[in-house]
């Protein structure tokens, strides 16, 4: 299942990549599962997506909870809590 990933702010810097197309196993059906899948890459990925890290997510440009479903073709963004205003 192909997903478009985007990373912002400190996540983008630590992962040293603004985004990528990934092919995830069909077992990865939620944002939370995708986060764990990325964490399993190890290195900076394990650090950025460690369970104690505050990471927010958006699917197709709408903020979602970890339980939100994902499907092929979705744009999934991970970022730290927002600090605008």
């Amino acid at each position: 299942m192909k997903i478009r990933l985007l990373f912002f702010a400190s996540l983008r810097e630590r992962l040293a990549i603004p985004g990528e197309e990934v092919d995830v196993p069909p077992t990865v059906t939620t944002v939370g599962a995708l986060r764990e899948h990325l964490r399993d890459r190890g290195g900076a990925w394990a650090d950025v997506f460690a369970p104690n890290r505050a990471v927010r997510a958006a699917v197709n440009q709408a903020m979602v909870q970890p339980s939100a479903p994902i499907k092929a073709g979705d744009e999934v963004a991970f970022f730290p809590p927002v600090t605008g205003g």
């Binding site: 985007l6 912002f8 702010a9 400190s10 505050a54 958006a58 440009q61 709408a62 903020m63 963004a77 970022f79 730290p80 809590p81 927002v82 600090t83 605008g84 205003g85």
Partner: protein, 142 residues
């Protein structure tokens, strides 16, 4: 209803005039956020940002009488004292204008995808989100 995410500065007077043309407008409340002390770079999620702000503005319109509004948020490199954000609300009466303005600011802080990076003498550092901002947005749920 104007929503703009832009690099350029904005002019409060021009925005207020633009949203208060109706003869039914009796009140305009506005808020401007400024850069404090330290130069910063504001990053945002192009594509999502304007939609996120629009949702917040729509919700304000369901709760209060909003006759017109202008919400502008800048991104890019900003210096101390630069304007960052403007929320201006036109309504028939002040109560709705004040409330909608504060509501939109509180939700912008927690829902709009912006991130501030401060450029201090010791190096650049991403600003951490504040629990107080979550609490400010949370109180509108009551």
């Amino acid at each position: 209803m104007k929503i703009s995410v832009q690099r350029e500065d904005f002019d409060l007077g021009a925005e207020v005039r633009a949203i208060s043309r109706s003869s039914k407008t009796g009140a305009v409340a506005s808020f401007i956020g400024l850069v404090r002390d330290v130069p910063m770079t504001l990053e945002h999620y192009a594509g999502m940002t304007e939609n996120a702000i629009r949702k917040i503005v729509d919700e304000a319109g369901r709760r209060w009488q909003v006759m017109d509004c202008s919400v502008i948020h800048r991104y890019g490199d900003l210096q101390p004292n630069d304007q960052i954000v403007l929320v201006a609300i036109a309504s028939a009466h002040r109560g709705d204008a004040f409330a909608a303005c504060e509501f939109i600011m509180d939700y912008l802080k927690t829902q709009a995808p912006f991130w501030k990076k401060e450029h201090r003498a010791a190096g650049a550092e991403w600003v951490e989100a504040r629990a107080a901002d979550d609490e400010a947005a949370e109180r509108w749920k009551k």
